[in-house]
């Protein structure tokens, strides 16, 4: 295998385990322990993508979660694919197949890079300014090109076959981050016997110390790596701690509620992934949280700082020490601090040529710069890299001296050849989770970073995320703050050996010798925003940092500006002459790093996505070929096609049969509330618009329920079973909310009423039998009920027996036909239904579904709450004044019926519509106009709420709400459709049997 850039020894990779993988279709080799990024670099590959706007070649820039450039798409079998993954985090495995994103047709030949030539005309806000008008170009032209050019990965088109899990967890102490600070905090917390959870997003612990130089740092006489391993072993042996690796905290919410995602199988070869849970979403409640999230190295912002081969200095060090990969052969380093010198020494010791170090500082009295001097590495003090060259890979840098005040460059331009430029702009504390939790930041004007100031939760930050740098400081702070936080007496001695460090100096935007506006100094690599874009935004009047961010899109890519944010803020503060502390930061929002939809959804997919409620008679419907309709969570029989009937034909047949012979409907889904107590009648008086006190025992009454705003909320029939006992029915969809509303009033407004509510929806099966033969069928099915009209009139109820089982029979009708409703204990539902079918056979009993039910009630003009009403309709609008009591002192919604707006005469009112052509069926939801114009807009005066072809009337009928409709009876109106205009006449809402004779047929 040709790992040309692999060093001959060292690293934490397993050289005995070679792994092959594909990148952009070509096969490469790496070792077990490599990331995709380290394996590519070992093969000499830097160029991995194209930039978002200008399609400039981009290379691997970091070694971790903050990576802005190296986004790849992973291709798996069965059409499965994962977009937007960072090559720096993907652990390679046998069979890995990754491709570059955001380049078309290929990473080496990219058509979009023509944008780069046009870059002077693609400034900040370009998309906002250009793609605005005319609107129809959006659909056909702009969107197509923007989508093609944007190319941020492709979403999979097939169902995700992987298994995801959710897990709740409670602990006393959660420690986020297993770098030196997190490890010491964990050790300390365990001294108090606390239940500890320690998580880290990486697979190898120790944070940046993991790839620190062995010669310069020691803890308790051990090398960094030895100390990390020993500490991890100690922790693993303690039963009070749970340790999760490859686990990233996505969100930190109030009350110490944290969401994290654990990667379980992504690093395994495909064959070992099978049947295993891919990711687990942890929902953690912690009594106390210790944040040890570390810090992220900053880049330097200078002209053409985005070429492949320009990398963060700490990343280059990590590739060398952890993966034994040299990122170049001829290296220059551009820095403003001492940390980069450790990279130089590491590389030098591994035999890699470090040609020059360019340092913006006057000098440094640290140990490492001195050592570099001794090693003969040329240091250019008080100098800056001002420009780079090399299209697909850097090959030259230009260096100039900085002026005294660092605002310009002076003297001769020095040209240095190189194939790698390490940049180090100091470290930014990773305060993302701290601010997500509601913590407030402070800005250190000397050290140039934001750090945690005030936390509102039981939480501390330790280590570099708290702005504490230097191994000795980090370890001692982690121990001391943890001891104080958890009230721990014991202390442990840590002997830390570290180097002396010089001070760090900062320039947000490196000056250039070019005239302003001609440079391309990239601040946000992923979204391609430059320092000039930020300047332009400020010139155009954007002041708030949140506005500048949105206008330039800086920090808005998938990396959420982990690399970009600080410099964007710094540049704004310099230009506007505002102190950074006063400027503030943009909001850090969850998730900290992108998470999969699979992890969010967990097991709630397919049949587990939502609860499915089935009636006790469901199996019968299924066996008899019913098509089902979703009503809330319920599956309701919609219609029963026989012999390949169309839906239309089936509904026509069912509706006809219900009026000529007998129909049977499963009404079990209707909400049922059992109401008992001394004040039950008074309670009903208050919740319904009509009067209830005089309803005789054994009688049923239709009731309309309003909200206090006067709008119709629900309806249904309520039956008085005994003096203080009622059974209320509600609409199927309204059952839970009506119950909630009634409970609310009882508990909070009318605690003096003695009333008890029980939801009994699922306790009863409800079978409705209607039609001229329904009485004869009921007589055969039930015993001991006298069905004579005098004994059992419309709107009354009887207790009965079916075999030995008690049932309630209500004579109520939603179809306008003679109709009975059997309510029986749910588990008998199916057998009673079957009994009705047998008994009704000689009368041609026909099961009908919800669609025929809707048609039948429309013939009678009965409303359906939620179809004829939409929360803006009063009973008066519905021409149901008859049900609104004028005598009752109060009921819910009464006062609102007398507001000036609800009393307006020209409100939309409930009417019937008949089409000029009786065969023409209107579309539900169609708009109605009084006058037709040549083209829209036209004044819309209402809309069609229900529309059917009535088989019993042999014509099309429709219900609608129309402005001033009550007065428009007989008037011609129009329903404009895309290809024609339909003429209609306003009619009464009752189309069939106005006198109600059929109820007693």
């Amino acid at each position: 295998m040709s790992n040309k850039y692999r060093l001959s020894s060292g690293g934490q990779i397993n050289r005995s385990e070679t792994i092959s993988f594909k990148f952009n279709g070509k096969t490469f080799y790496g070792y077990k322990g490599d990331t995709l990024a380290s394996a590519l670099l070992a093969n000499g590959i830097h160029l991995v993508g194209r930039s978002f706007k200008y399609h400039r070649p981009r290379g691997i820039f970091t070694s971790g979660v903050e990576e802005p450039n190296a986004l790849v798409q992973i291709i798996k079998d069965q059409g499965k694919t994962d977009p937007n993954l960072r090559a720096t985090q993907i652990e390679i495995y046998e069979g890995l197949n990754a491709i570059s994103q955001n380049c078309w047709p290929s990473v080496n030949f990219d058509l979009g890079s023509i944008n780069n030539l046009f870059s002077p005309i693609i400034p900040a806000g370009f998309y906002y300014k250009t793609f605005m008008w005319p609107a129809n170009l959006w659909e056909n032209v702009y969107e197509y090109f923007i989508r093609k050019a944007a190319g941020l990965g492709k979403s999979p088109t097939k169902k995700d076959p992987d298994i995801y899990d959710h897990c709740y967890y409670h602990c006393e102490v959660l420690i986020v981050g297993a770098g030196p600070a997190g490890l010491v905090a964990a050790k300390t917390a365990l001294k108090a016997g606390k239940k500890v959870l320690l998580v880290d997003e990486r697979s190898n612990f120790g944070g940046n110390l993991n790839f620190s130089n062995n010669d310069y740092n020691k803890v308790n006489e051990l090398s960094p790596l030895e100390w990390i391993r020993k500490t991890c072993l100690e922790l693993q042996g303690n039963k009070h701690i749970k340790i999760l690796d490859r686990t990233s905290v996505a969100a930190y919410h109030n009350y110490n509620y944290l969401i994290m995602v654990q990667n379980l199988t992504d690093h395994l070869p495909d064959k070992d992934k099978k049947g295993k849970i891919r990711q687990r979403l942890w929902k953690v409640r912690a009594k106390k949280v210790i944040l040890a999230t570390g810090s992220i190295e900053r880049p330097m912002i200078f002209d053409c700082n985005d070429r492949p081969g320009i990398m963060l200095s700490s990343a280059v060090r990590k590739y060398a020490n952890t993966y034994s990969v040299k990122c170049g052969n001829n290296i220059s380093i551009f820095t403003n601090n001492d940390d980069a010198y450790e990279t130089a020494i590491t590389l030098h010791n591994k035999g890699v040529k470090v040609k020059s170090i360019i340092d913006i500082r006057e000098k440094s009295d640290g140990t490492l710069p001195k050592k570099c001097n001794v090693l003969g590495i040329k240091i250019h003090w008080k100098s800056a890299v001002i420009y780079t060259e090399g299209y697909k890979k850097i090959n030259k840098i230009y260096v100039m001296k900085l002026s005294k005040d660092n605002t310009s460059v002076v003297g001769n331009k020095l040209k240095i050849d190189c194939d790698l430029l390490c940049v180090s702009g100091g470290y930014t504390p990773a305060v993302h989770l701290f601010t997500q939790s509601g913590g407030k930041l402070d800005y250190d004007e000397k050290k140039h970073y934001f750090f945690p100031k005030k936390s509102t939760l039981s939480q501390i930050s330790v280590g570099s995320c708290n702005g504490t740098f230097g191994l000795k400081n980090i370890i001692s702070e982690a121990q001391e703050k943890t001891r104080e936080f958890l009230d721990i007496k014991e202390t442990e001695q840590f002997n830390v050996l570290e180097t002396k460090s010089g001070t760090f100096e900062n320039i947000w935007l490196i000056p250039s010798s070019k005239i302003s506006g001609k440079t391309k100094s990239f601040v946000d690599y992923q979204n391609d925003s430059t320092a000039n874009d930020i300047k332009l935004a400020l010139r155009e009047g954007f002041k708030s940092i949140e506005h500048v961010k949105r206008y330039t899109t800086t920090g808005m890519a998938t990396d959420q500006g982990k690399i970009a944010n600080m410099h964007a803020l710094g540049i704004i503060s310099e230009i506007t002459n505002t102190k950074l502390g006063e400027l503030g930061t943009t909001t850090f929002r969850p998730p900290y790093s992108p998470i999969t939809f699979g992890a969010l959804v967990g097991r709630n997919v397919g049949q587990f996505f939502d609860i499915t409620r089935k009636t006790p008679i469901h199996d019968w419907h299924e066996k008899n070929n019913a098509k089902f309709e979703d009503v809330g969570q319920w599956k309701r029989a919609w219609y029963y096609p026989s012999n390949n009937e169309s839906m239309y034909d089936a509904v026509q047949r069912e509706s006809k049969a219900a009026r000529t012979n007998a129909g049977i409907l499963d009404a079990s889904t209707l909400g049922k509330i059992d109401i008992q107590g001394r004040d039950a009648s008074e309670f009903l008086n208050r919740v319904y618009t009509n009067a209830w006190s005089k309803l005789a025992i054994g009688k049923c009454r239709y009731g309309l329920m309003l909200n206090d705003d006067g709008m119709v909320y629900d309806d249904g029939v309520t039956t008085r079973l005994s003096e203080n006992h009622y059974i209320m029915t509600t609409t199927t969809g309204g059952a839970a909310t009506v119950m909630g509303k009634l409970e609310d009033f009882l508990q909070t407004e009318w605690p003096e009423l003695k009333v008890y509510l029980t939801s009994v929806t699922d306790h009863f099966a409800t079978i409705s039998v209607c039609g001229p033969h329904s009485k004869k069928i009921l007589e055969k099915v039930t015993k001991n009920i006298d069905y004579s009209d005098s004994n059992f009139p419309h709107m009354s109820f009887k207790n009965g027996l079916i075999d030995k089982i008690n049932c309630r029979v209500m004579r109520i009708s939603f179809t306008g036909e003679l109709s009975y409703e059997i309510n029986i204990q749910a588990n008998y539902g199916q057998s009673v239904w079957a009994k009705c079918m047998v008994a009704g056979k000689e009368y041609g009993i026909t099961p009908y579904g919800t669609e025929a039910m809707h048609l039948l009630r429309a013939e009678k003009g009965f409303i359906i709450v939620g179809q004829e009403t939409d929360g803006t309709v009063t009973p008066v609008d519905l021409q149901m004044d008859w049900i609104v009591s004028k005598k009752k002192y109060d009921f819910i919604g009464k006062r609102s019926l007398y507001r000036s707006d609800t009393m307006r005469e020209d409100r939309k009112q409930y009417v019937g519509l008949l089409t000029k052509d009786p065969k023409e069926i209107l579309e539900e939801g169609a708009q109605i106009v009084a006058e037709v114009q040549n083209k829209p807009p036209m004044d819309m005066i209402g809309h069609v709420t229900s529309s059917y072809y009535s088989p019993n009337l042999n014509k099309s009928i429709a219900l609608a709400v129309v402005k001033n409709g009550k007065k428009l009876k007989g008037t011609k109106l129009y329903v404009p459709m895309p290809n024609k205009t339909i003429e209609v006449t306003v009619s009464d809402t009752i189309f069939l049997d106005k006198e109600g004779k059929r109820l007693n047929a």
């Binding site: 109030n254 009350y255 509620y257 409970e743 508990q747 909070t748 407004e749 609102s896 007398y898």
Partner: protein, 90 residues
């Protein structure tokens, strides 16, 4: 993502509860005697305070009881929970 102490059940996760708007709005005993403005004031107008707010909550996936809560809306700190009819502990 609060932890809420139901006055009847004790500490439970936020997900068991539902929010019910501003507390201590007493439904007028004689709505018919109110002017449109007075009725609208009761029906539509809500304070929506930044800071300490008194609000109704329902332990909807628990005991189903309504209760009141004093919560600082600026930081979601719950200062007290108390039963309907009781006064908030200040």
């Amino acid at each position: 993502m609060f932890i809420i102490k139901c006055p009847y059940c004790g500490e439970r996760d936020h997900s068991e509860f539902s929010y019910g708007g501003e507390a201590h709005l007493v439904r007028p005993k004689q709505p018919t005697e109110l002017s449109d403005d007075q009725w609208a004031e009761y029906l539509f107008m809500r304070k929506n305070i930044k800071g300490l707010q008194y609000e109704r909550w329902n332990h909807s996936h628990g005991c189903r009881r309504w209760f009141n809560m004093a919560r600082d809306t600026s930081n979601d700190k719950i200062h007290s929970v108390y039963k309907i009819g009781e006064k908030a502990n200040k």
